[in-house]
């Protein structure tokens, strides 16, 4: 079993790489959720300027590939902003650039998910909350968003899983996460290339499975009175 052999031999290095993948995913998803809520709320705000800003952001992100985005943000911004004393190296290097890219990318998709979730809540809920004297923000945070969250949850989990796997594209700027780690090992051990990539795949599969299981638990937790 070459698979087991590779797994055992490179286990420590894959574990470190897995750590990078998980770290990149976790940081990006937290930021993406914040971005998603902000721009999702912009979209349902009914204020034309905010709506326009949100649409522009979402259209640009959705209309371009992630790998190109990370090139622009890592290499492009470095070049353009260097005269102003900016360097990715000062703020965490390629990992930060990768996290920023993935956050912006997932944030745009999350914004659409959150907008959809908010719009799926019955209009009467906002009216009832406002009629009690609750200001818009309180009505949104206490009444609308908790309900929207429940309908959004499957789509959010889906986005989390997609973003987790998208970290492999970020390897293009040299972050040694799972995929990059696989590339490096494969380069030195060409005869076992199949086994190496199967090990890489297995790591992703494990993380995704864990994420899905957590999702089921959360979904069960937020179902009310049914």
């Amino acid at each position: 079993m070459v698979f087991v052999e590779v797994l055992v031999q490179y286990f420590p290095s894959f574990c470190i790489a897995l750590g990078e993948t998980v770290k990149l995913t976790a940081i990006s998803l937290i930021c993406a959720t914040v971005l998603g809520v902000i721009f999702g709320l912009f979209k349902v705000s009914g204020i034309p300027l905010l709506k326009m800003i949100a649409n522009l952001y979402i259209d640009i992100i959705r209309g371009t590939p992630l790998m190109v985005q990370v090139m622009i943000i890592f290499y492009g911004l470095s070049q353009v902003l260097r005269p102003y004393g900016f360097s990715w190296g000062d703020i965490g290097g390629n990992f930060t650039a990768g996290a920023v890219t993935l956050s912006l990318n997932a944030g745009a998709y999350m914004a659409e998910i959150i907008r959809g979730g908010i719009e799926a809540v019955d209009k009467g809920q906002m009216e009832a909350a406002r009629s009690l004297g609750l200001p818009y923000g309180k009505a949104m945070s206490k009444v609308i968003l908790p309900q929207a969250f429940r309908t959004m949850l499957p789509s959010i989990i889906n986005q989390f899983i997609i973003s987790m796997k998208d970290t492999s594209l970020i390897s293009v700027i040299g972050i040694r996460e799972l995929t990059q780690n696989g590339k490096i090992i494969a380069a030195n051990s060409a005869s076992r290339v199949m086994a190496i990539w199967l090990v890489v795949a297995a790591f992703y599969l494990v993380v995704c499975t864990v994420l899905s299981k957590v999702a089921v638990l959360v979904e069960r937790k937020v179902s009310y009175g049914k």
Binding site: D122, G124, Q125, E127, A128, A129, R130, S131, L132, G133, L134, P135, K138, K142, V143, P146, Q147, R150, Y224, G225, K226
Partner: protein, 244 residues
């Protein structure tokens, strides 16, 4: 003026180019129960929703409890605290228990701490006959029970005025009575009420004044005896013939 709770003068409401309310004027005194009747599409609900500005007011003046609602600069949230509203489809918050539905606004708006609000919620639930449902979720209640909780929720802010938008229209017939009973009690306690309703029996029995609306106008108003017993306008007569 002193005891006028609601003062409406030349109220107009357009949805785009559609004129839904055409110059409505109305006064409601403290403790008065006014029922709005009329065919669907006549503007009754829209009128009611203008009273707490759930609908933007196109033109005219609306004054509730001394606050000029039609003035875009007033703090509408403050005014709404004093105007309870009950909706046709209940609009209970499904993710909160009955108790939390009732305590949400008083606690969030810092009218009461959690403990007192909860105590008050139980009192209100007793009043509507649902004390045992405090920890149920709305999804576990019948329509009539939901609407009684909705009334309790609206009362939690201690409003001076209650607006009812077809509160029994979405209920199964056997549940209409329990909701009307609560409303009657409220009327008897001296609450100022404006009720959009198709329950002519309720209007006849409880209303101090009945208003017939059609096509964005107030066509006729009077005491229940006058309006049901001796309607003067052609449109009122034809409407009453259809529903009675």
């Amino acid at each position: 003026m002193e005891n006028k709770k609601i003062l409406v003068k030349n109220l107009k409401k357009n949805f785009g180019s559609l004129e839904v309310l055409k110059k409505i004027s109305l006064e409601v005194a403290e403790g008065e129960v006014v029922c709005l009747i009329g065919p669907s599409g006549s503007g009754k609900s829209t009128f009611l929703r203008c009273l707490n500005r759930l609908e933007k007011i196109t033109a005219g003046e609306v004054n509730v409890d001394g606050h000029p609602i039609s003035d875009p600069n007033i703090n509408i949230n403050r005014v709404r605290e004093n105007i309870g509203m009950v909706f046709q489809h209940f609009n209970l918050f499904p993710h909160l228990t009955v108790r939390e539905n009732i305590t949400l606004a008083p606690v969030e708006l810092k009218k009461m701490d959690k403990e007192n609000a909860s105590k008050k919620a139980v009192e209100l639930l007793e009043r509507v006959g649902l004390a045992d449902k405090a920890d149920s979720y709305p999804g576990q209640l019948s329509g009539g029970q939901k609407q009684r909780v909705a009334i309790a929720r609206a009362l939690a802010m201690n409003p001076d005025i209650m607006l009812f938008d077809e509160p029994t229209s979405a209920l199964d017939p056997e549940m209409v009575g329990e909701v009307l009973e609560v409303m009657k009690q409220l009327a008897a306690d001296g609450m100022t009420m404006v009720v959009v309703t198709h329950e002519m029996g309720f209007a006849r029995e409880v209303a101090d004044r009945v208003i017939f609306m059609d096509d964005g106008y107030i066509v006729e108003e009077g005491t229940p005896e006058e309006l049901f017993g001796n309607p003067k306008e052609e449109r009122t007569i034809s409407f009453l013939n259809k529903v009675l």
